[in-house]
Amino acid sequence: MFLFELLKNEIKISSLNRGDSLFVAIFFLVTISLFPLGVGPDTITLSRIAPGIIWIMALLTSIVSLDRLLSDDLDDGTTEMLVSSNIDYTIIALTKIITHWLTTGLPVILMAPLLGLALQMQGSSIGTLIISLFCGTPTLSLIGTFGSALTLNAKHRGILIPLLVLPLNIPILIFGSSCVTLDNINFDPNGSFLVMIGILLIAITLCPLAISILLKMSIEK
């Protein structure tokens, strides 16, 4: 399937071009290590706010590479080439969403256990955190790519993208971090997981469609 080839090429480019995953990992690591410095090294405080910190940083990490995610291909003519070669806009949108998740969501998930430990989280809460990140980060990529598509050719994209994307992502932040909070106080976090999966399903049905419409609009403008 061509989606797979496109994806392979995309990942090759993003690993060579921007070093996305590495950049994301470093951003995530450095910013999170600022919190103990700002809040103080107190173990109880840190372990209480750790899930929130990690989720907020996951949210912020998901938007750092958004400004170039779609516009690079639009500017250098790759999107036009793919469209003129009968590649559907939806395929292009899906490729970008998956690439975004692989280069930002996945590194965040991989680093989360380490940072959770550093922030004094308990072993079981770290497990819950990882599951919550698995349920939530794909939605962050879907909504993030949507935000990137909204701002194609826009002025001041750097400010616009966070302004548009972050409010839309608030439910994910709330349910994601509450999973771990609930687990800490020995409540069943399954409800939050289910809500996050529900939101993910809504996002999966709507975002690729909206992104392909927006891509088409920016090409045909």
């Binding site: 061509f2 080839e5 090429n9 090759k12 480019i13 060579l16 071009n17 500017d75 250098d76 003519g77 790759t78 036009e80 080439m81 793919l82 469209v83 003129s84 070669s85 009968n86 590649i87 090409i219 045909e220």
Partner: protein
């Protein structure tokens, strides 16, 4: 898979009109192109050459009118616009192999393309280390990758020296004889014998079947 007869895949454009931003770019344009024919689209900047080519390449849908090309579905159109669709951080080889996958082409096409555009020395160079003319040549190498029927070239001669232009013209002439259709937008005359031309500067635009004089 049946082999598409060249005679079936004529390009027929009828009553094509396109407007952008409420402004009519061109109105009721009709022409046709048979296999082995080349069409030069002339006109000043802003006369709608690029728009017409985008219409033909299925990038921009026309406001009204029809573009008939039998084999639209089979990825047999090669469009090379102002933006070259080259990934500058990849090597020449990586770009070409990506196109091979895009057009389901095997290694034979890859080697043919490298040979015809004499890129063999630069295969493992990163694109951003190459000169503008060379980058242009790499982008044109896409024409020879995979089976194609229609080439759409938007100002291909920009950034090219005399040698490169001759190279491109040679490739075009060889492939015209193989039954490929070519549409070129250019504001300068082309050195290819017996081409049709379409001048967008006049309204209504007309099609002349001028032999090169």
């Amino acid at each position: 898979m049946s082999i598409q007869q060249p005679s079936v895949s004529k390009l027929i454009v009828s009553n094509l009109s396109t407007s952008r931003g409420g402004k009519m770019i061109f109105d009721k344009l009709s022409f046709s192109l048979a296999p082995g024919e080349i069409l030069l689209v002339k006109g000043e900047n802003g006369s709608g050459k690029s728009t017409l080519l985008s219409n033909l390449a299925n990038i921009l849908p026309p406001t009204s009118g029809k573009i008939c090309l039998e084999t639209r579905k089979t990825q047999k159109v090669r469009y090379i616009g102002h933006k070259l669709a080259i990934k500058t951080t990849l090597t020449v080889r990586q770009n070409l192999s990506f196109w091979c996958k895009l057009y389901n082409a095997n290694n034979k096409f890859f080697e043919k393309s490298v040979k015809d555009f004499s890129l063999s020395h630069f295969l493992d160079f990163q694109i951003n280390k190459l000169s503008a003319g060379l980058i242009k040549r790499v982008s044109l190498a896409r024409l020879l990758i995979g089976e194609s029927l229609l080439w759409i070239l938007d100002e291909p001669y920009i950034n090219m020296d005399k040698k490169n232009i001759e190279l491109l013209n040679k490739v075009i002439e060889i492939n015209l004889n193989k039954g490929i259709m070519v549409v070129i937008a250019s504001h300068q005359p082309i050195q290819i014998d017996s081409h049709k031309s379409l001048d967008l500067a006049f309204s209504p635009p007309y099609l002349s079947n001028s032999q090169e004089d």
